[in-house]
Symmetry: C2
Subunit: 491 residues, 2 copies
């Protein structure tokens, strides 16, 4: 089975695509850039979504639903926003089909043309702030802390499963506040929620930081982000949280009466994380045998495969009893028993390895005689024989250990691929040979940032939140700099 996966060192992009498709996560659809998320991939997304959703609710947010379609004129109201999104919009122009009078099939009915075209939302700031205008009158109406789980569409030219698709699933939080300080606090709070989720559930270490003006969200005053390092040494932006200032309140005329009786525009944040995170999950942990999933997000945490042939079939009820006992002992564990006799146990082993199931248990007739079983870890591929009675304790501990090991491994990789450089030659050499994150001094100008990107294809991923100030000279311009920033090539 493992032959289906192209090795990473042969073709990393092909490896990624092989893992995503062969593990049954997703596939391309006949609609350009729109993927089909298959049940196994969607189950991972459900686990991610449920975990994040619980955190959003615990921090006072509620869910709502705003329209899929946005009037074209709304996009133009915030000047930067339209610049950022106009180039990649799916546009609805008509609302009816009719039979083709000249043949088979159907054509767009020219009589059913919309007066104003509608855009499939690339993000919902405009339609939401147009709505908030009616919801916000007084400081008593604030804060508004709303999140939406939704599908959005950006007409990307080059797409890749999960990482960059035309349609994707995400959550977008849109909050309104009475003061700038409160909005900034919210922006950082949600950034921290993302970072905690990624580190504690996805087992992916992330760097929290602020984007440079060049890389800001279209319409934001400040864009905060979490950046992770993939196994090919490229960075992946895993989520963003924006302080929008009063930009959208001004564009949509959202004013409120303050406690003091004055009138002010509301302050905004928005924050989003998407199915792109699944791409990060694949690229951080998986290997040439297939997917590796952290236990907290794995749809199946433990799979039990009976090794039974025609001669030992009468022992199956004993194994079923072991499974039942195990499920009773670990009611919160996601345990699958695979007794499908259309497939060999060898086939099953390879398949669950490909699908990244953290723990596999094999039990045969001789195991039953000995009251033992064989337990395999997906992350280290280590096997051990253990007694049936000790299974609940061992599994509970191993699920914790695997989660931690995946994080530690990813952190070690990142540490080994993070370099401080002081010269342009070192910078280029590191990017080309060692790859990874590079901390270097930058003079703070967009021109230099553009020139570095032009020359190396590396961008400033962020200015880390906890960045120490340090005098130095820009690697490109030689001008004075007060801090190193985080460079990398990226997805």
């Amino acid at each position: 089975m493992s032959k289906v996966i192209t090795p990473r060192n042969e073709d990393y992009s092909k490896w990624y695509l092989d893992v995503a498709t062969e593990a049954g996560l997703a596939e391309n659809s006949p609609v350009r850039g729109c993927m089909i998320i298959k049940p196994y991939g969607f189950a991972i997304w459900e686990n991610m979504r449920d975990t994040l959703d619980a955190r959003f609710k615990a921090t006072g947010h509620v869910n709502a639903s705003f329209p899929l379609l946005i009037p074209k004129s709304f996009l133009s109201k915030e000047a930067d926003h339209i610049e950022g999104f106009a180039k990649e919009c799916a546009v609805v122009t008509h609302y009816r089909l009719k039979k083709d009078p000249n043949g088979k099939g159907v054509i767009v009915d020219p009589e059913a043309k919309l007066e104003e075209e509608l855009i499939i939302r690339p993000t919902s700031e405009t339609i939401i702030w147009n709505t908030y205008r009616n919801w916000i009158r007084s400081y008593r109406d604030l804060p508004i802390l709303i999140n939406q789980w939704a599908n959005v569409m950006r007409w990307e030219m080059r797409t890749r499963l999960f990482l960059r698709t035309a349609e994707f699933h995400w959550q977008e939080g849109h909050t309104a506040h009475a003061t700038a300080a409160e909005a900034v606090t919210e922006t950082v709070l949600m950034l921290n929620e993302y970072a905690n989720f990624m580190e504690n559930h996805m087992a992916i270490p992330v760097i929290k930081g602020v984007k440079t003006p060049n890389e800001r969200f279209a319409g934001a005053v400040d864009t905060y982000c979490v950046e992770a390092l993939m196994q090919d040494g490229k960075a992946l932006q895993m989520g963003t949280s924006h302080f929008l200032g009063q930009n959208f309140a001004k564009a949509f005329d959202v004013k409120f009466t303050t406690k003091e009786g004055t009138e002010e525009y509301a302050w905004a944040t928005s924050w989003g994380s998407s199915t792109r995170m699944i791409g990060g999950l694949i690229m951080t942990h998986s290997d040439d045998e297939g997917l590796i999933l952290p236990p907290k997000l794995a749809p199946i945490q433990v799979v039990i495969v009976p090794i039974i042939n025609k001669n030992t079939k009468e022992r199956l009820p004993e194994i079923e009893q072991i499974v039942a006992n195990l499920k009773a002992a670990l009611p919160n564990a996601r345990i699958k028993y695979d007794d499908d006799d259309n497939r060999t146990s060898g086939f099953k082993f390879a398949e669950y390895e490909l699908k990244g199931v953290p723990l596999r248990i094999a039990i045969g007739a001789r195991d039953l005689d000995n009251n033992t079983c064989e337990l395999s870890r997906r992350d280290t591929r280590e096997k051990q024989i253990c007694t049936i009675d000790s299974l609940p304790q061992i599994i509970a501990q191993l699920l914790i250990d695997i989660q931690q090991n995946l994080f530690d491994r990813a952190l070690a990789y990142r540490t080994a691929h993070t370099t401080r450089v002081d010269t342009w030659d070192e910078f280029v050499k590191t990017l080309n040979e060692k790859t990874g994150f590079v901390y270097a001094h930058w003079d703070g100008t967009s021109e230099t940032e553009d020139a570095i990107k032009e020359a190396t294809n590396a961008t400033i991923r962020c200015i880390p939140l906890d960045n120490p100030l340090e005098d130095g000279t820009c690697i490109f311009s030689g001008k004075p700099s007060t801090q190193r920033v985080l460079f990398a090539r990226s997805y």
Copy 2:
């Protein structure tokens, strides 16, 4: 506060709209026919969705995600399907905007025209069966039991919040089977899941039945449905489950190798329920004071309002302790404590009544002295004084009682508004004066069904599943009939 709701007997449609908007469930958006589901309305939908989703999973289904957009040509592949849906499609024709060279704002970039137009899914049979072609090779690949929670779009001309909107949220199950019998079993299984959910969670009695050919889903062999009766005597179709035969398998060439080695087209079902159910929830239970929610779906089951003025403010910690104890005693109850001192308790009482919160508890300083509180039921508007110590037991029981009372009330209304008639005059008179469900004989022809609809605006809601056979004559044509069918005017 209750003045904002138009009484039912004055203008039922206005009453419905008032309840939906004033209770904070939803509002219209600037995009024609697309609603904004507000947090309180969305919380009801989340409770409905979570309950249904758990049942779908318990019956072996898994979730997945298919594209929002469908190539125009796909719709034409199933002849009936295109007839049913072409007239109400949102059509994407372009993928880019550009700056208007003649002025401000943006225009559709004529250079970014799609080769083939894309339709926003009105339902997903076509894109899903096109996908299943690659997933189904052998009987071993069957059954496929997939559900999708999604937004879909049908360009309705007359829209009404929840009941009929251009964009709506729903779930659509799409299953593939090796035999017709297995697919029919699945169709009926899911119909029963819908009926159980509606009766046990929504507290709405439903009639399960089969649609006549006139009312079938476009592309189905048989459409099963659950029909409920609203307080204005009109029927609401609450959900449908379709046996699609081999229609979509043939349209998309989905064949499999049977156990015997022959090749056959796969058998299909699809089944859906939507945010429309929230419209049914409003119309079944609510009154002139506002929304009434069954406890199992209410986002807030119990609200506690402290009756405290400036002189008794020091007693607030005592009430907070009571709330904490109650939450500890009833960890699964959704309890809200509203100590917002910007609003009077009278305002709060009216608001939670409007929002349909099943139980309200008021506690003042004198109550604290007496170790009592005032408990109000939303459904009967009855009040009782009870001791603080007895609250957990009383609340737990009342939530059960209210759930049952709402169902009983709805069933009593339906029973009182269900009539058996034998003549055309009785039929018309019943529809016009008594309203409700009418059981009458029908000759089984589409022509008669059309003529009855034309004359009375009543349709055959369904042929109930447990319908007794009974000789009679058609109320319209006088021709012989073997059973009564269920007529009503409907939404």
